[in-house]
Symmetry: C3
Subunit: 139 residues, 3 copies
């Protein structure tokens, strides 16, 4: 039983950028030498999210529209009134989507659906440098 | 310290079907021989979700209505325009609800509230065969 | 490799109360003697949530408004019709926000963003006594 950790840095292109990190997680599992356990995929930021999704252009647009519908950009945010950085919606969206996902692995391979990818979504209103941590636990 | 994994297959009845998997998780913990750790409950699909909820008929209806209100079926989805399978809303709902939950266990028993169950929710627009993985880590 | 668990009890002040538990998690990691692994932060209740967020007054208000906008208090809930406890919205919000978050730790320190805290949010319509479990796994 052991722990294995990998950190990468991602330069995002601004609000709504979807960065597919599936292969990076799969190669981390393969390189760890572990056979069975779980991968925690976490981003240490409050205006980004980590999700599972089918990563295709139509859904990237649909998820973006769902965020705008439910957490609109054109309403007042108290965060913006206090801090003036204009990313109140980014914070709220991050809290609802979450900053991590966890997936199991077995026989040295990540368990996921054929149409199920893992992605970091940039929610802030400008391009950012992001950290992503893959923490493996298993044996 | 060790890892223990169980996979089951679930035949769902179509959109909105709520399958309570609480007892299956509890029996997995009991059968593992482990005393303390965590259970990752994961589904490898992008049009289903795993959640914690009080599983009673009123709330099953309330959650269904909340999905329809916030991620409606009667709007355009770009996914549907590209792929024509009519389940764009299912994907978006899955990304927001999430494909896994994690619960701790102690003294060989799952930790959960009396009114807190774990459920797989079918979000696709038709009946499906689903996999559910319970990955235990602990000692 | 090992497991370490801590449980605390929190008296909340009623609907919308945000209880920052970041320091409690950090001290649990520090006191465990573990170097690398993950912390599962879980609440065994179906009308509360555990989230990551920037904990400042503006965002506490913005998140509260987002819940009211998407899961309103002034609509009918079937749960309330059946059980009469008036907290149907609390249950629905809990299922969408989630009852746990997971964060990695390394070199004996929790990994998180400078503006990223962990909070228990009271979603029920009255003050409650809540349990919060921090389950560590690692080495």
């Amino acid at each position: 039983m052991g722990a294995f950790r990998r950190t990468i840095t991602i330069d995002t292109k601004g609000e709504g950028d979807v960065v597919d990190v599936t292969e990076m997680i799969e190669s981390t599992v393969a390189g760890s030498g572990m056979r069975q356990g779980m991968a925690l995929v976490f981003t240490p930021h409050s205006t980004a999210a980590v999700v599972t999704m089918e990563n295709e252009p139509g859904l990237r647009e649909d998820i973006s529209r769902a965020m705008q519908r439910n957490f609109p950009s054109n309403i007042d945010y108290q965060h913006d009134k206090r801090w003036g950085d204009g990313n109140g919606r980014s914070h709220v969206r991050s809290t609802f989507l979450g900053s991590s996902v966890s997936l199991p692995f077995d026989e040295g391979r990540l368990t996921r659906g054929e149409w199920q990818q893992v992605a970091l979504i940039e929610l802030d209103v400008r391009e950012r440098k992001r950290e992503l941590i893959v923490q493996l636990l298993g044996e």
